[in-house]
């Protein structure tokens, strides 16, 4: 069972993951349906030959998944996200994401954590680097504890 996510328990430098996701044709098709984005590069052919995953596939979720693999992170909210695309990744591959708690901070009584992560393909080649700023919940710290 995941630990309760507590700001005070989060340790800057703490490693998170790895988490793995198989990029199936079904998952990519669901992405295209949900985002109404039927780009042929995702479903048919791309300059790489076969279809590739949408660049944002799982992108904004990696920080949450890394946090959620260890903690009960159901009340979290994404407030900032940054991604650097390094290469396309073909549909059918399994992606692996590892990360670290890069920072944590309190702003106007709300608690945030910063997760940096790298996603790699099956050969171990990095195809995306990400940074996510995540609000732990909408609950504010007591006024005398800010």
């Amino acid at each position: 069972m995941a630990e309760v996510l507590s700001y005070d328990a989060l340790v800057v430098g703490e490693a998170l993951g790895p988490v793995q996701t198989r990029i199936t044709e079904k998952a990519v098709r669901a992405y295209c349906d949900d985002w109404d984005d039927p780009n042929p590069c995702y479903l048919e052919t791309s300059p790489l030959g076969g279809p590739v995953a949408p660049p944002a596939f799982m992108a904004g979720l990696t920080g949450f998944r890394l946090l959620g693999a260890k903690y009960d992170a159901r009340a979290t909210i994404g407030v900032k996200t940054e991604h650097e695309n390094l290469a396309p990744i073909p549909v059918g591959q399994t992606m692996t994401t590892s990360g670290v708690v890069a920072d944590k901070y309190v702003k106007r009584g709300l608690e945030y954590v910063v997760i940096t992560s790298t996603s790699t393909d099956e050969a171990g080649k990095a195809f995306r680097r990400s940074t996510d700023h995540i609000l732990l919940s909408l609950k504010r710290r007591p006024a005398d504890d800010r």
């Binding site: 949408p54 660049p55 904004g60 159901r74 009340a75 940054e82 991604h83």
Partner: protein, 139 residues
């Protein structure tokens, strides 16, 4: 669709997209009483309803960049987004747009930097950010 970037100038608007926000999990799942995806809870916190996840909004902004930069986006694209205000709710019609902020020549070619945003059609700008990619090899 890929835009011909050769004629772009700083200040030019980029082609936008119009979308109706959809998050499958909000349509198919129930969320705990302290979840930002719970309508009742988010209303007690001053939001108009359950918040659509940031990763969903990032997907819409990424599509805008694929349309602009094409295949280059997959290997040279950088994007930074901030989610602000009252967020976005399921079914909201939105317009994603942007404007060229800078053209930077470097060893890998010319990097086009764009200021980007998502506007709700009924008002408000819940997503702001910046993105860039290389569009041409060095001369």
């Amino acid at each position: 669709m890929t835009v011909d970037l050769a004629g772009l100038r700083v200040g030019d608007a980029i082609p936008g997209t119009r979308k109706t926000i959809y998050q499958r999990a909000l349509a198919e799942s129930q969320f705990s009483k302290d979840s930002i995806h719970n309508d009742d809870y988010t209303r007690t916190k001053g939001y108009p309803g359950a918040l659509v996840s940031a990763y969903v909004l990032a997907g819409y902004m990424s599509e805008l960049m694929v349309n602009l930069f094409g295949w280059s986006w997959f290997s040279t694209g950088r994007i930074g987004l901030t989610f602000i205000g009252k967020g976005v709710q399921q079914g909201d019609p939105v317009i994603c747009g942007g404007r060229v902020k800078a053209l930077e020549d470097g060893p890998d070619g010319r990097r086009v930097v764009v200021e980007i945003w998502m506007d709700k059609e009924d008002g408000g700008r819940p997503v702001i950010g910046e993105a860039s990619a290389i569009w041409a090899p060095p001369a």
